[in-house]
């Protein structure tokens, strides 16, 4: 008797689990890099900057972490193990799949641009955080939160290159940014990141290389957090 009951109970749980799993929905968080109104195409197009300069972008990579949905400032859903490397050279990396419960009401999405300090001191990690992804500083521990590389005639550097590797997790040079955007529904979210606004603020003849944590890196990271908007 007891035994039968046990089996029934098990079946019941299996059933519940299944229905729960089925009722979850998959939504995409889509990142769309742009330069003003133009789509951003790596290595190819030349984009006009304000002061008569024009630039090419060769690499754009950044970490998005700790994705959450909020309803009136109350967190209603958090992604577990939420670390995503968004790389403009990989179309799939720009569409982040999120598995969320159905029928949630929310009006905001919040995520970090970069990797938080706890993860930065946790040693080596896998997946998108694996150091082979080229987003880890080797001579001084820490993740690069945001990487932008390209060329401009204004840069009096080797091959006219500019390199912005922004990161740093220790005060006073913590570069991590939290970004909150208003959304209507969580089913499909497209986030535009407009690099023109950033590049117009930088005089590449003076500033063309940041490769370690610094106040400059913190300043630019703040600027970058303001480039994100809902399409």
């Amino acid at each position: 008797m007891k035994f039968k009951f046990f089996i029934l109970l098990n079946l019941y749980f299996l059933f519940i689990q299944n229905t729960l799993a089925q009722s979850e929905i998959v939504t995409t968080l889509n990142f769309i890099p742009k330069f003003g109104n133009a789509a951003l195409i790596l290595n190819d197009s030349t984009y006009p900057k304000n002061n008569g300069d024009s630039i090419k972008i060769e690499s754009l990579k950044f970490y998005i972490s700790n994705i959450e949905f909020l309803n009136n400032d109350k967190v209603i859903w958090q992604e577990k193990n939420s670390f995503h490397l968004v790389d403009a050279s990989s179309a799939t990396s720009m569409k982040i799949k999120l598995v969320i419960p159905p029928n949630i009401t929310c009006n905001k999405i919040r995520f970090n641009l970069g990797i938080d300090s706890l993860v930065n001191v946790s040693g080596v990690l896998g997946g998108d955080l694996d150091p082979t992804k080229g987003m880890y500083w080797t001579w001084q521990s820490g993740y690069i939160n945001f990487k932008l590389e390209g060329k401009s005639k204004k840069c009096k550097t080797r091959n006219n290159e500019f390199h912005f590797h922004l990161g740093g997790y220790q005060t006073p040079y913590s570069a991590l940014q939290s970004i909150t955007l208003n959304i209507n529904n969580p089913e499909k979210i497209s986030v535009v990141i407009d690099l023109q606004k950033l590049m117009n603020e930088i005089d590449l003849s003076k500033q063309n290389k940041i490769m370690s944590p610094s106040s400059e890196a913190v300043f630019l990271s703040k600027k970058i957090s303001q480039l994100f908007s809902i399409k």
């Binding site: 930065n120 001191v121 946790s122 040693g123 080596v124 990690l125 896998g126 694996d130 150091p131 082979t132 080229g134 880890y136 080797t138 001579w139 001084q140 521990s141 820490g142 040079y173």
Partner: protein
């Protein structure tokens, strides 16, 4: 009822066996502080340690397959560089610092002379990437290992996966380094009351406790802090140590306090290898301390040692030699992996 009890006992047994399996590879010597490394995130196993050992001796970690970790960290000199003041890397390039001896790393929190590295697992990235050391990228290391004959098998045994990743590679190297525990010198056996110091060593030990152990703290013989021990700045290197990382003036000229275990073998001494002999080191502490705003307060009053006392102090330092560590076959070049097996 009886059956339940049996199951219970069996489970308990499994748990103990599981725990035992972990502790066999790493034990904290008695009366030592707790290790800092979080083993739960990288549980030790015989296969992972063995893989890490192979990787430590693997020249494929360098751009032109010539330099391995062991090139600069040789077991027979307590895992430091043999006879070079500044490290000697790929294409005979000379680095800017002396390679430290490696041991008891499970207790360390920050790595490198300036603490630029915050975790043992990411330590290896620094030499692999450094243009004067191995000048390679972890991405290509992984590709090379994946293509090799031996490594996919070794990774499969260790991690259950033939796909090699940066994470697995670095965790395996950590595992090997974690096993490098030196705790069996004459000093240790005296502390365990299994042998005794000579009168000279005993006197040296007292002098050591009075003058040195605030920084070179027992039982690790380092307090793992960053201190300025009064070395004059070498103008050709302009190395300000910890300040480079924290960007604070108060950290100028501070370097990680090195362990003095196996100091007999870890010459040349200091971050730039400026001293060849222990007598030079004692001369520094007694005669050559440079005052500067960050000089450690213990060294602001001159240390006075007679020539006999210097001899005694050195006699004590030599009791920190751990032959079992230096010659432990478990740490040495893994012939069984690298050399072809003789035909039967």
């Amino acid at each position: 009822m009886k059956k339940k009890l049996l199951i219970f006992i069996f489970c308990g047994f499994c748990l103990v066996a599981f725990k035992l399996q972990e502790t066999i590879f790493f034990t904290e010597p008695i009366n030592w502080p707790k290790a800092n490394y979080d083993f739960s995130k990288n549980p030790l196993s015989a296969q992972k340690i063995e893989l890490g050992r192979a990787l430590f001796y693997e020249p494929m970690l360098s751009r032109n397959n010539t330099i391995s970790c062991a090139s600069c960290h040789s077991q027979y000199t307590a895992f430091t560089h043999v006879d070079h003041d500044l490290s000697h890397g790929i294409d005979d390039r000379i680095g800017t610092r002396n390679s430290p001896a490696l041991m008891n790393l499970a207790w360390h929190k920050l790595f490198m002379w300036d603490g630029a590295i915050n975790h043992l697992d990411v330590q290896s990235l620094a030499p692999i990437n450094h243009p004067d050391e191995m000048d390679e990228k972890i991405e290509s290391v992984v590709t090379k290992l994946q293509k090799s004959k031996i490594y996919p098998g070794l990774f499969k045994k260790a991690f259950g996966d033939t796909v090699i990743t940066g994470e697995y590679t670095l965790k395996a190297i950590s595992q090997y380094m974690l096993t490098l525990v030196s705790a069996n010198s004459k000093y240790d056996s005296v502390m365990r009351k299994q042998s005794t110091f000579t009168a000279q060593e005993k006197n040296g030990y007292n002098l050591f406790k009075k003058n040195c152990s605030s920084c070179h703290k027992e039982p690790l013989f380092t307090n793992l802090e960053f201190e300025n021990n009064g070395l004059a700045l070498d103008k050709s290197l302009n190395d300000f140590g910890r300040m480079k990382v924290t960007k604070k003036n108060s950290d100028s000229l501070k370097f990680k306090v090195p362990t003095l275990r196996n100091v007999e073998f870890s010459y040349p001494y200091m971050h730039d290898g400026r001293y060849k002999r222990l007598s030079d080191v004692l001369k520094h502490y007694t005669e050559k301390i440079q005052t500067s705003p960050t000089l450690a307060k213990q060294l602001q009053k001159p240390i006075i040692l007679s020539s006999n006392e210097k001899v005694d102090l050195i006699a004590f330092l030599l009791t920190l030699t751990d032959k079992e560590f230096i010659f432990n076959p478990k740490f040495s070049y893994p012939k069984n992996i690298f050399l072809p097996k003789p035909q039967e």
